[in-house]
Symmetry: C2
Subunit: 442 residues, 2 copies
């Protein structure tokens, strides 16, 4: 047998039928199967109202717009669209991306500093690959996107939580986390934040807080990874300008077409400080040679040939209506609970009574034909058992109402059981394995 | 300043204007800019005959076939194509992929064991991520694909060369490399081979050699990564059956639509042993959430609605004609050199006189309006200065002839200079930095 440098501590003594088990890299232990994956498969049955996923409502996009973009693409750029492209992405698209970013206050950027990626997840993966040695610290706005957390673990990062309040990242917690990590001799590589309509909480960082977080990170020499997939999908008033609009040297900005056009095209982008941009291009080439030319041209022709601003307004209207339906249903059926009121995006974050465990309750909910995402997935430290994320992006208002009604039945039923038989006592057994993103958990 | 765990040995003492320079991960030192990238940019000017790239001739694909596939896709699967998909890829495509693999003798495989990726490069990246700890050994059929070499370096692999002969991988060299690495206490994680029409040499591994290599790898417990982007593009007779057709447990098989349909769709695939398949899906999710649904459905509808076998025959005819033009031109203009005679694929591999340095000669060649790929890029150890890869996939037969004629002028001119002034003496200064794949160097 080969001499193995593999870490033998994961699944010690476990029976494993994979003959290559001892050959995997240490980091592969960080890639774990979600224990709720099987339940999500059940939740995708049509009779289940899924408030679990994070998929956009692509049916709000007239297919005619896609047909038109495709025809324009094939007519003007057919051979290019079918061929390999450059690692940085096509310049025509990168120029249109500047228009999008300008809406959120990012002006004066150059298409030269934009890199297109296979969705934002790809950008998260590449940035982590570029910066993280095993054990390096990533400061994570908490709770946060499960897919980012999974990727950070897959590079053996030391993920340190930084809690939020109603204005976003807590400044004192951030400063303390930086100092603590450095006092331990750790390299703090970056802060990851979703300042607009955070996934999972829906909370938006205030303009003042953005300035304070940035100033602290400049003072402490910490790079900010600003992930902004939902920014243009505000409901009432626009979110404050992007952190990147305040500083170009300390912020790596991630955007995506997944929520304002289609996730099926897998087109995301990064606006990066110059030196990092160079390395990102090399990382793109190393991982996929070049992003899909076809998809990049399709998005370019969509942006050039359609009123994409009006289409974003359509999406905003749809999601606003669904957010309203969600909040109304929560008030009607679960008035004893509390939840966040998002001003954009796809999610609200529900606080359950302490005695409930949202992960343990999920099978019962699924049986009652409603699904949600348990809170534990959004923490690396086992917290979140008394939280759940509810998504309003995909189901109709009627289905949202039905789903919340069913959820109320489940929650009230659980509370009755607890009242009768006592609380769950195995809550502390949560091992945080819910780390990788199942397909519908965006 | 943050405590840095970064390796300070790369570019020691160099002036670097990137303020984040000290923050990168160690592995990022393995992502280096190709020193011939600037020249390739020049080589993409229309007046230059480029024999350098590895791009397929996508114009041999009737655009009507793509239009038809797109219409079918939007009609039947529009909403799915625009939405997120699963990490493993859509099952309808995975089932069609079984038909492709069956042509090369892989029968009895299940769509369950297929994972679709963002081109084959993505598969190479993910497999390396799954298996390689820094310092782990990858055995590399040599010379080999520059993009694989770059990815291996980006995970800090210890790449060990295994030379080829006219029947493919040299068996004694392979066995010796395994034993030597293990004697040094190294973990040998996998063997990487392109058995059909190898990039860059065009050499095909014989059927007998496939059996021998497999038997050795089974005996020694070494995983084989069989990369087969060109297999269906044979000219005279089909290549021997895939190594994977002989064994399902020790071979991870990589395929791609880039050369038989379009690289612009970035759709590749892996057929993996069961346990590895599971981990690959998690790695796909961690890197990009899911491959592009739109591109996967487009390829599926192309396979279901077109005579794709006839289209592959069209490609084969085109490339055969160009191969013939290349070999004839070499015989006519450079009869004093030797080169390989490929039975498929895109490349021939030319042996230059020892006194020539193909990398140093490239600027002169570009000035004479012809480009090629210097041999050094296909080795990690600085060899290859007296080799060059010539590609016949993209230029017309007439342009190939013109390119080789220009190349002969350059080579003969260089030889004259050397005869007059003596040989280059800085050949040993080659530092192997030509490691990452520039956009047109596939």
């Amino acid at each position: 047998m080969p001499v193995s440098s593999q870490d033998s501590t994961h699944q010690p003594g476990g029976l494993n039928l994979d003959p290559w088990y001892d050959n995997y890299a240490r980091r592969t232990a960080g890639l774990t199967v979600s224990e709720v994956r099987a339940l999500f498969a059940v939740a995708s049955r049509p009779e289940v109202v899924s408030l679990a996923g994070g998929s956009p409502f692509v049916s709000a996009l007239p297919e005619e717009l896609i047909h038109r973009a495709f025809k324009r693409m094939m007519k003007e750029h057919g051979a290019e669209a079918l061929q390999y492209g450059g690692g940085q992405g096509i310049v025509q698209l990168r120029e249109r991306i500047l228009d999008l970013m300008a809406i959120e206050g990012i002006t004066g950027a150059s298409a030269d500093d934009v890199v297109t990626t296979t969705g934002s997840q790809h950008a998260i993966d590449l940035v982590t690959k570029l910066f993280i040695n095993p054990g390096d610290v990533i400061l994570l706005e908490t709770p946060s996107y499960v897919g980012a957390l999974g990727t950070f673990k897959s590079y053996e990062a030391d993920v340190r939580h930084v809690d939020m309040d109603e204005e976003g990242l807590n400044l004192e917690a951030l400063e303390a986390a930086i100092h603590k990590a450095r006092a331990e001799g750790k390299a703090v590589k970056f802060l990851y934040t979703i300042p607009n309509f955070n996934n999972p909480t829906g909370v938006t960082m205030s303009a003042a807080r953005r300035r304070e977080v940035l100033d602290l990170c400049i003072r402490e020499d910490v790079l900010i990874v600003e992930d902004n997939p939902y920014g243009l999908l505000y409901f009432d008033e626009p979110a404050p300008n992007a952190i990147r609009s305040l500083d170009e040297d300390h912020v790596l900005y991630l955007g995506s077409f997944s929520k304002i056009l289609s996730p099926g095209v897998r087109v995301g982008y990064v606006l990066a400080p110059h030196g990092i941009r160079e390395k990102l291009i090399l990382a793109v080439e190393s991982s996929i040679l070049s992003p899909s030319s076809l998809n990049q041209w399709l998005v370019t022709e969509y942006l050039e040939g359609s009123d994409w601003r009006a289409q974003i307004d359509t999406f905003r209207g749809t999601y606003r209506e669904r957010r309203d339906a969600m909040l109304l249903a929560l008030e009607e059926y679960l008035p004893q609970l509390s939840w966040t009121v998002p001003n954009g995006g796809f999610f609200t974050w529900v606080q359950l009574p302490q005695s409930l465990d949202s992960k343990q309750m999920l099978p019962r909910a699924t049986k009652e034909l409603v699904a949600y995402t348990p809170g534990t997935g959004f923490y690396a430290d086992g917290r979140g058992h008394d939280k759940m994320r509810l998504s309003f992006s995909l189901p109709t208002p009627e289905r949202i109402r039905l789903g919340v009604r069913r959820l109320a039945n489940v929650i009230n039923g659980e509370l009755e059981i607890i009242e009768t038989f006592g609380s769950f006592d195995n809550r502390s057994a949560d091992d945080g394995r819910f780390a990788s993103a199942p397909p519908d958990l965006n």
